[in-house]
């Protein structure tokens, strides 16, 4: 797992996000075990209850499941569900903020589209 925590957003959300990122990148395929509460607490120097809250958030969303006495595992289809969730979030928050900034800068719709298009080509989006 990569990444460090910052103090600008709630720790349990950052833990949830870290695990989500790992699932999306394919570091934790379906039915593999994710780090335990204690491992996360030790790795990031955080209270284990907070680490557990981050994990439970993913359990509540059906992305992780518990094997009693063993640990937490990635649910089948978790990566796809996450991609869907992030797409919705992307439209709702990031695109909105992005367009608002364009508005503040006085860009026209045409100018904005051509900027996006150029970047999309550079990144070779299909």
């Amino acid at each position: 797992m990569k990444g460090t925590l910052n103090d600008q957003s709630l720790i349990y959300r950052q833990i949830a996000q870290l695990l989500e990122d790992g699932i999306l990148r394919g570091e934790y395929p379906a039915d593999t075990q994710v780090p335990s509460t204690n491992e996360l607490a030790r790795a990031f120097n955080i209270n284990p209850a907070t680490a557990a809250k981050g994990i439970n958030r993913l359990v509540d969303e059906g992305l992780l499941y518990k094997r009693r006495g063993i640990g937490m595992f990635v649910a089948p289809g978790a990566a796809e569900a996450l991609r869907q969730k992030r797409r919705e979030n992307f439209a709702k928050t990031q695109v909105k903020a992005f367009v608002r900034e364009a508005k503040r800068l006085g860009l026209t719709q045409q100018e904005l589209y051509s900027l996006v298009k150029a970047q999309a080509q550079e990144e070779q989006l299909p």
């Binding site: 600008q8 607490a41 030790r42 120097n45 955080i46 209270n47 284990p48 907070t50």
Partner: protein, 303 residues
């Protein structure tokens, strides 16, 4: 060979309508608090807010003017049946009579005072903190802090109260302390109550926080649940004022820079989403330190 008596599970520690005056000066006012067993609490407040006094009374080392400290429902004051369960670590003074002892001798004396003392653990911590075996009054301030931290941890007391344990420590030693604390907590599930004003780096260690302001409790909550109730809202002053007035919100803290204004607000997720949806307004999260300043700064952050 010494034998270690296994410490019992922690019980709740309570302040029951606790009051304390020094002369006519009220220091603690009608405090009702419960420190639940097996959690790490942060106790935060400004200088003079009453943190040390509260910890002293909770551990039976100071007496209350009114109300009581209770451990497992029993009064703490002069009650030898419960006092062995509580350890209060405070900053050591080079002038104290114990400061003439060497670090090792001082820590060997721990078993005389602490029923669950773990000498092996004390020895291990001396190594981890790289403490030299000098007389205590020859140590640096940070090293003295490490000695009282070592005594507190090795006491294996079910409830351990630490008053500003990190005050004299450099950043490396502070990180090491919190790591050791979390290891011990995961191993034993002891209750820890830690006062500090180096807040932000400790925030992730505290499951719960109690905030004192002028002897009164202003917050007693799960750390992240508390932080989640606060946001900075900023934008053009006129728009921001209108949005706040519409909803009858009184900001906790205000900062004005020309025509731009930023306020600290306490509220719910729905309110923050509403404000964020307004054109021109920006909503940003806070950290525990920001929340503390918003609650205890009395609105006086410079304009």
């Amino acid at each position: 060979m010494t034998t270690i008596t296994k410490a019992p599970a922690p019980q709740p520690l309570q302040a029951d309508k606790l009051c304390k005056n020094y002369g006519k000066q009220p220091v603690l006012q009608d405090l009702d608090l419960t420190f639940e067993p097996g959690r790490i609490y942060g106790l935060i407040g400004r200088n003079g807010a009453g943190k040390t006094t509260l910890l002293g009374i909770l551990s039976g080392q100071n007496y209350a003017t009114g109300g009581r400290a209770l451990y497992g429902g029993q009064p703490v004051w002069e009650n030898s049946a419960v006092l062995g369960n509580l350890h209060f670590a405070r900053e050591m003074s080079a002038a104290s009579e114990l400061a003439g002892l060497s670090v090792k001798n001082f820590l060997r004396a721990g078993r005389l005072f602490c029923p669950y003392w773990d000498q092996n653990y004390a020895d291990e911590l001396i190594k981890k903190f790289e403490l030299p075996n000098k007389m205590i009054n020859r140590l640096s301030r940070g090293q003295m802090s490490m000695v009282s931290i070592t005594a507190a941890l090795a006491s294996r007391a079910p409830v351990t109260l630490l008053d500003e344990p990190t005050a004299g420590l450099d950043v490396v030693a502070r990180e090491r302390f919190y790591r050791i604390l979390l290891d011990e907590y995961q191993r034993t599930g002891r209750t820890f109550v830690i006062s500090t004003h180096i807040i932000e780096e400790a925030a992730s260690v505290f499951e719960k926080v109690v905030i004192l302001d002028e002897g009164k409790e202003v917050a007693d909550q799960n750390t992240e649940d508390l932080v989640e109730q606060f946001r900075y809202i900023s934008g053009p002053a006129a728009e921001l004022d209108a949005a706040l007035a519409e909803r009858g919100i009184t900001p906790l803290q205000t900062q004005v820079l020309g025509g731009h204004k930023m306020v600290a607000v306490r509220g719910e997720e729905a309110l923050f989403e509403e404000l964020a949806a307004r054109d021109g307004l920006t909503v940003e999260g806070m950290n525990l330190q920001n929340v503390f300043v918003a609650l205890c700064g009395h609105g006086d952050e410079e304009g």
